[in-house]
Amino acid sequence: MNTSLNWLQDHLDLSDCKTEALADMLTFAGIEVEGIHQQGAGVDKVVVAQIKSSEPHPDAERLSVCQVDDGSGTDRQIVCGAKNYKVGDKVPLALPGAVLPGDFKIKKGKLRGVASNGMMCSGRELSLSNDHEGLLILNTEAATGTPIGELFDSDTVFELEITPNRSDLLSHLGIARELAALTKRSLKSASHHGETSIATQAAKADEIELQAPEACPYYTARRITGVNVGPSPDWLKAKLEAIGLRPINNIVDITNYVLFEMGQPLHAFDADKLQGGICVRQANDGETFVALDGNEYALETDDLVIADQSKALAIGGVMGGEDSGVVETTTNVLLESAYFTPSRIRRTSRRLDLSSDSSYRFERGIDPAQTLGASELATKLILEIAGGKAEDVVLVAGQAPAPPAPVSLDAARAATLLGASLSEEAMGEILTGLGLNALGDGQWKVPSYRLDLERHIDLVEEIARVHGLDNIPSRQEAVFVQPSKDDARYDAHFQLRQQLVHLGYDDCLTIKLISEAQLQDDVCALRLGGQNQPVALKKPLSQDHTTLRPSVVPGLLDVMARNIRQGAHSLKFFEIGTVFSQHVKSPKVLESQQLGIVLAGDMAVPSWHGAPRRADLYDLIGLIEALFSTSKQAITVRKSEEENLLIGAEVLLGKTSIGKLGQLAPARARELDFNGPVFVAEIDLAKALKPSLETEPVQDLPRFPAVTRDIALDVPAEMPNADLAKHFAKQNQPLLVDHQLFDLFADPTGDKLPADRKSLAYTFTYRSPERTLKSGEVDKAHEKIVKSLSQLGDVRVR
């Protein structure tokens, strides 16, 4: 809310407070100062001038040539682009030599060949308002030549963020009350216009009918006849413009003034446009309403309308209509001041996506005790400014909500929670300053505008707020806690991240919402598949983010593409994070922690030593083996059919499937603008990492030397290494402790080996834990294994 310092000073003398000190004070009261704007800071050489004549510019359609009286005795010629004035109007005139806000220097000059000796100004050009639709028309008795600074005080406007619990601060009076409490000052007498003794009269059913008392428990109306609608006086315009409002006419301006003065929204109807009495009712199903903003709204029965006997006049508490408002020809006014139930206004405002200064206040809750006072203040101002005659009584229907109940304060308990040794007296002083009254026995009467003070803790908060956290001693005491499963998981994941980083993989973080196109990318099938489906948002914000990612790989492929575009050669990325899926038959969303890896390009930093090796499938397989195999469970990889993958494989830890890996189909890889194979993997970390405190005892170091024998086998090209490894293990040869593949040879040309064959060479390691082996025993053991190979069929020893 924009808050004018001049306006605040109507209620409170703050002349000795510096702007920064006030801003700090507000900040530490819990009112965030989002901006401070200086306005109308005394511009020299800007004076009141009267337009004597206006002729079209001979060479420019949009310009006029005016003769103006600047008070000097001789008319001054000004070329002007504005259209909103008429001859005889008084306007601000910047004389040559004036420097307007924004360091805009005014000089004598020619516009399209016609001399112009100064500039007539808009409100915004002088930082007096935001209005830039035309010249600022001065409604003033001031003589021409009067410096404009004498008409407009300079002002400081604070842009304040009011938290939703403090609706009482949504007015100048509210802010002034708060500052008075904080600075221990008294409010001026003018601030007590909430208190009124105006006579009221219960409205008859044909005057005001409250059909929906739960939404509008209290409605008042006052009739004022014979008003003169016209521009507001300068003081009123200045007030509204200072806080960024555009003056409209005196009646509307007065209702706006009261809103920002007291926080009570009012509405003025043109009484002659009403047919019969006011009816406050629920909207009819299918009823439509054209509001002041020009839009048509489809209402529901949950919405409240203010209607006459034939039609809706306003969406209650939210916005009036186009047809029943006060315009220049209005002479009789019906002034509404009412209390609306916050939740109802909020529902309507949210559903219609329609918010106004009124609805903003009603939905947060206004002071239920100010309804008549605000009506009275507006009436007084209307009579003063627009003339006319007000009816002696205000018609009222229903009852204002009861004042808040007293709240108790237990000083000892409050002090414990505050952690401060604050006396009961000191607490009482703070509460009294805020307008509460001690009722004795720790009971406090709460002012009607403090809707947020209902419970003990609410009073404690006030004391903490005013006392300030600066004055509360810090306590730094630790407590023993049991590490949780989440701790173990975090540590395991963090260790994994560090391992990957040390191996040259970048730790990535991508958006968990992905697009339809990414979802269609079959890479997602790496994890989905079967009965699992992705989880779609009801109302996505954009086409790029429609679905919760079922896999981390699509995001990582985007990362790869981005880095390829910027010229990276080594593309090694991983992400650890949540992915989401849903079983087709159950709405429950399953969340799991996955590791995704993408790999392509150079496996080393390019250097003068020669070209780096390019990544291949076995870099990825080796990485997964190194990361996840344990002394108890080995990683095995077996081929599986995966859509969109040229090579697909399942990764097992022991017998548990923990994920998939593979090489992207070349067509998909080309979409990344990358010339070469691209590898991906996705591992389910809940299955792959089992954090445990158990340890394994170390194994004895071998005490006797090992003997090795090499063997080269000629096998069919499609025979997997795993078949041979399995066969070697099956032989249960006690002396064979290890076998190692040391060469793979194939010749697609068929020259050195038929194209459908390959040669695998192994080193077998033999060792006994008890003695040094003799050559003969090794030969015997090795021979047995060689002979057993015939069981595999088409395997020949080379």
Binding site: T163, L469, D507, M603
Partner: protein
């Protein structure tokens, strides 16, 4: 004979220096110590030496043979050393080294770990909760009923079945209290979601860290002491920390926390960094209702909670100008965090 041996010795001494390479050294050895070498031939003359002279001459022969043998060995070592030195002479130590590939922990990972480390040292354990949440855990249980002005469905991603993407990690507070008895002292880092268009300062998915301490006598001093320590652990032990009163539905009193930083060449300024407060008694009351017991009776326990945005912390810490850099994963950015 002795003269002859001495002459051979002298000859060897005079010519060893000429053995400039392995081949020359080998010829040298053959010339003196080979089968037909001068010393070998001279040794054959021992037969003619008189009996009484034999020990003396024999000794001399051995001396000379030993001297010549070591001469050859020493010279061989010298030649190897010279060869090694020649090979190493032109090594250019200014050539670039063979570096491992650079890679980095993401700045958010690093920031999160800093926070977690600091809070663990203060005795907090980790907790977690689902990202797809119920309205109850995200709003209602946190004292934000449907009509509350602070509850803004417009900012929330919903699913057709009424579930939503949590708008803050505060839902983990509720989940933790539902399942664990007090005292509890937990932190919950994780994603939160808001219907914000992505731009230089907003992400629709961002990372928060929530903290909660509930026990019998937790007060504002605990909140202040803990958060001061946290931000001083992250931004330096002398960082000024201040607490401004604010409003959150689930804490009362509530505060926003600012730290004072001085970017290079600029005046020090206060930067908003987190929100916190004492757990609202309504939250405890709701927990009691959910649990069906009174372990969290607001008359018996008090607590504080805080929440901070890790992207914001990282941006402040490293002067990152655009929040999108944190999700783009450009190597040129990431490798600055190696």
């Amino acid at each position: 004979m002795i003269d002859q041996l001495e002459a051979i010795h002298q000859d060897a001494l005079n010519t060893i220096a000429d053995a400039a390479d392995d081949a020359a050294l080998e010829s040298f050895r053959i010339r003196f110590l080979g089968k037909k070498g001068t010393l070998t031939q001279a040794a054959a003359g021992m037969r003619d030496v008189s009996k009484e002279d034999k020990p003396k001459v024999g000794q001399k022969l051995n001396e000379v043979r030993q001297a010549l043998t070591s001469m050859v060995e020493d010279r061989a070592a010298e030649l190897i050393a010279a060869k090694d030195a020649a090979a190493a002479k032109d090594t250019d130590v200014t050539l670039p080294g063979r570096r491992p590939q650079p890679a980095a922990l993401h700045p958010l990972t690093q920031m999160m770990d800093r926070g977690i480390k600091a809070l663990r040292q203060m005795g907090f354990a980790l907790a977690s909760g689902p990202e797809v949440e119920t309205e109850f855990h995200c709003f209602d249980a946190l004292n934000t009923p449907e009509d509350h002005p602070a509850r803004n469905e417009k900012d929330t991603f919903y699913f057709n079945d009424g579930h939503l993407l949590r708008t803050h990690t505060s839902s983990v507070q509720v989940r933790t209290m539902e399942t664990q008895a007090p005292p509890i002292r937990v932190i919950a880092p994780g994603s939160a979601y808001r219907r914000d268009e992505i731009d230089a300062t907003h992400l629709s998915v961002f990372t928060q860290m929530e903290g909660l301490y509930v026990a019998e006598d937790v007060n504002l001093g605990d909140l202040k002491g803990t958060l001061e320590r946290l931000f001083q652990a992250i931004f330096g032990p002398k960082t000024p920390v201040r607490f401004r009163p604010h409003f959150f539905p689930f804490t009362e009193p509530s505060f926003e926390i600012d730290i004072q930083l001085q970017p290079k060449g600029q005046a020090p300024r206060w930067i908003e960094i987190a929100g916190c407060g004492m757990v609202d008694p309504n939250v405890f009351a709701q927990i009691c209702e959910s649990r069906g017991d009174d372990l969290y009776d607001p008359d018996k326990v008090t607590g504080f909670a805080f929440g901070l945005g890790l992207e914001r912390l990282a941006m402040i810490m490293w002067g990152i100008p655009d929040i999108r850099w944190l999700i783009e994963n450009d190597q040129r950015f990431l490798h600055q965090f190696v």
